[in-house]
Symmetry: C2
């Protein structure tokens, strides 16, 4: 249901969704495979330190905890109520929550507006709003934070710690992102599935993420916006980069988005969303991969202050893929001679005769760690250079590990210059390891040329957005 702007009582209470001292799980089950079982299992497995109160009228104990027939029967304060019972029972649970003065409720249950029960969903939402009880969902997977060891939902893993707040309407895509987090070291500050976002809306989690200390970048997956103006307002008030991806714009997607999260896209166009995101100062990604790649870069690196990007690679082919992609995306590389007279000559000292000091700078497949270091040094120290894109392709003599260590060292040494440093590592297992190590040290790294270019372009876009603010 529409909101006009981020509501203060909602934003204030979102802390209880991510950092509750106590949780009641309604529909807590003794049977593995049930959502109400998995929620408590997840809380325990990932190290939740607060109180857990299972609610189940047919059980005395669940997971070893005393169970209660209703939320009202719990003899202690309750911050968060997680609801995983059939749709027709939810109303009475909400009444208990209001009576219990719970701080926030999360409804995981599906089968509301997305299957045609919009009236029921609206009734519940209005009830929560009347009683100033923020309600997240329904039809969602859960939320959590690696910093708080908090995994609350139907979720097999926690992400690793990092800069990106992942705010997603889709549970499946949220889970995919969490999996990627572990596998590819994509660090998150917190994550939440919004599902049908009947009450708590994007704008409120955006406002919350804007003041969350761990969050450096917001990644927002949208199936439909009920409140575009509130979204724009919230984004504008946040002084952090925001990346969006919007689905449900295709002919069949309009129906699929409704069936999935009851999102309404009838009558809105892709262009409409382009305008919303432009007004909001958000960067729109097209594909899921770009969404993740760009969010990570914006979370780890400062904005790019100009378009003097120097690319240094030991692979001419990777340089070509990159410079073509830069131009395709409207941000062509400049030759070193245009960027800074003398820079080409200074970098020349670190490459063989058949290398090429153009831009991309091809220091050739025989490049040693020392040559990489020298070339990077020259580029990063040049005051005319705004950002560095490095690339490693493993030849039979490339010492990937040593180059990675040099990049980490230089990145630390020149952090005060506020120049983005992005790496591409294209190849086998050693490159995957390099990517993860670089990410762990705050350097966005990717396995293909185009991904690293997309990341750099996003840093440029964010620089432009900041200037226009």
């Amino acid at each position: 249901m529409k909101v006009n702007r981020s509501r203060k009582y909602v934003v204030d209470n979102l802390q209880y969704a991510l950092n509750p001292k106590s949780i009641a799980v309604v529909g807590a089950s003794r049977y593995n495979g049930k959502v109400g079982f998995k929620v408590i299992e997840g809380l325990l497995n990932w190290g939740y330190k607060g109180k857990i109160y299972p609610v189940n009228p047919r059980a005395e104990k669940v997971h070893g905890f005393d169970a209660y027939p209703t939320v009202q029967d719990i003899p202690h304060d309750v911050d968060l109520v997680f609801i995983a019972v059939p749709a027709h029972i939810v109303k009475s649970v909400l009444e208990d929550c209001v009576a219990k003065k719970a701080k926030i409720v999360v409804i995981a249950t599906s089968a509301f507006k997305e299957i045609g029960r919009g009236d029921l969903q609206n009734q519940l939402t209005q009830y929560c709003r009347d009683h100033k009880l923020p309600m997240i969902g329904p039809n969602l997977v859960g939320m959590g934070s690696p910093y708080l060891h908090f995994n609350c939902g139907f979720i097999p893993y926690l992400p690793i710690e990092g800069p990106v707040a992942m705010i997603s309407q889709s549970g499946a895509n949220l889970l995919a992102a969490l999996g990627t987090s572990q596998k590819d070291h994509f660090g998150m500050s917190f994550f939440v599935g919004l599902g049908n976002k009947a009450d708590v809306d994007f704008c409120e989690f955006i406002s919350y993420a804007g003041v969350d200390d761990n969050t450096k970048c917001l990644a927002v997956y949208i199936e439909g916006l009920d409140s575009p103006e509130a979204f724009i307002d919230a984004c504008k008030s946040v002084n952090k980069p925001i990346v969006t991806i919007k689905v449900g714009g295709s002919k069949i997607g309009v129906k699929a988005a409704f069936a999935h999260t009851a999102s309404e896209n009838e009558g809105t166009t892709d262009k409409f969303y382009d305008e919303v995101f432009e007004k909001a100062g958000a960067i729109r990604a097209t594909t899921w991969q770009e969404f993740l790649d760009v969010s990570l870069a914006l979370g780890l690196q400062p904005p790019l202050q100009g378009d003097n990007i120097v690319m240094i690679t030991n692979g001419g082919g990777s340089g070509l893929l990159s410079c073509d992609h830069f131009e395709r995306c409207g941000l062509p590389l400049h030759e070193l001679s245009e960027i800074s007279p003398g820079l080409a000559g200074r970098i020349r000292a670190y490459m063989p005769m058949f290398g090429s000091p153009l831009n991309p700078v091809d220091i050739s497949g025989t490049a040693s760690p020392i040559q990489y270091k020298g070339a990077f040094h020259q580029a990063i120290r040049d005051p005319k250079v705004h950002g560095i894109l490095g690339s490693i392709c493993p030849t039979a003599v490339t010492d990937v590990g040593a180059v990675v260590d040099i990049v980490i060292e230089l990145h630390e040494m020149y952090k005060h210059l506020n120049k983005p440093f992005i790496m591409e590592c294209q190849g086998g297992e050693e490159c995957q390891e390099a990517i993860m190590k670089l990410r762990d040290h705050g350097i966005p790294a990717y396995p293909t040329a185009e991904q690293s270019v997309n990341a750099m372009i996003a840093l440029y876009k964010y620089g432009q957005i900041k200037k226009s603010k």
Copy 2:
């Protein structure tokens, strides 16, 4: 240098580049780090069974083999001569090769046309052509085949066995592909770096791959085509899918491609190459990732005979990313009711009430392996359905391994129907393992929605190309 068409003596002798009984390595070195050392090391490490003759006038033994002062001094037949000596010495080595009646030469040496020594390169090329000695290179990284345990060059790894012949002008990108092969189970039949392709040209390796039994799809990375007509002719004569990627089209890329592999792009446009590839019946990829993804699909699966694609997923969000991308690429999904009356009803039996039998079919995050099996069964057996896109998102109850086994079983069972089956597995390590297992069983699988859609669209395009032939 230009060729008018694939030359028979060249194509006939390419077998000696990939399957030589004997190899002379000119510039064989006793010092680790040198190309001439790495070549022999690579041959030995990866199990080459033929004869190796190091050529080095200042050594008696290299890697334990008798060394010879020149190629002419080798007292046995020589199939392949691999040359890794400075550019100014190459001419005399070629004279030795002609005198020795070697079958083919490979020049790894750089510093020819790409640094302005076009005259020298042309002289060497003309000399080889005058003597009908096919010459691969110069300025290349090497070649090999996992089926032959053959790794000949400056190359840290062999790919895994599979359907794709990788023909690349760039060494770095070739190496990246080989690394990906191991890491992501991207199978190859053989690979070759063409470098400056002064003599042996794309057309000839394309003709060769066309008759190579292990090759089911050709992946061709191009920095510049000297002989577009010969390229088109060769492609048209090959009854296998061909995927291309062309770089060096950007303003700075024109210079970078020349500096890299002496490729000439001055005066050609991207549109020109679009036309070349269309005439050739080749499928053009834009990004490196798409190039790999699409090649694998075409290597593993039959062409798609129509556009009735059914997508089955346990993640509504992944379905949305997919259906939007299908429409963006000009091949929108059709609703089940349009594809086949009754299909939606039959699939309905395998999903909960809040699932959605639209298309994408969302069998919901609670989907069990049995539900997956039932839904896949119904879709694949329906005579109106041309292809299946399956998708797994790991929720807390998803049994990824069991679903993978079901897909493998169904894929085998219904192979005779010649319907493409593609999988998306989006998530963490268990999905990466699933992807590799599926690929090992002939099913193209990818970690994101858009990648799997690109793969399916390529199968459709190839179906159209075959029909128009």
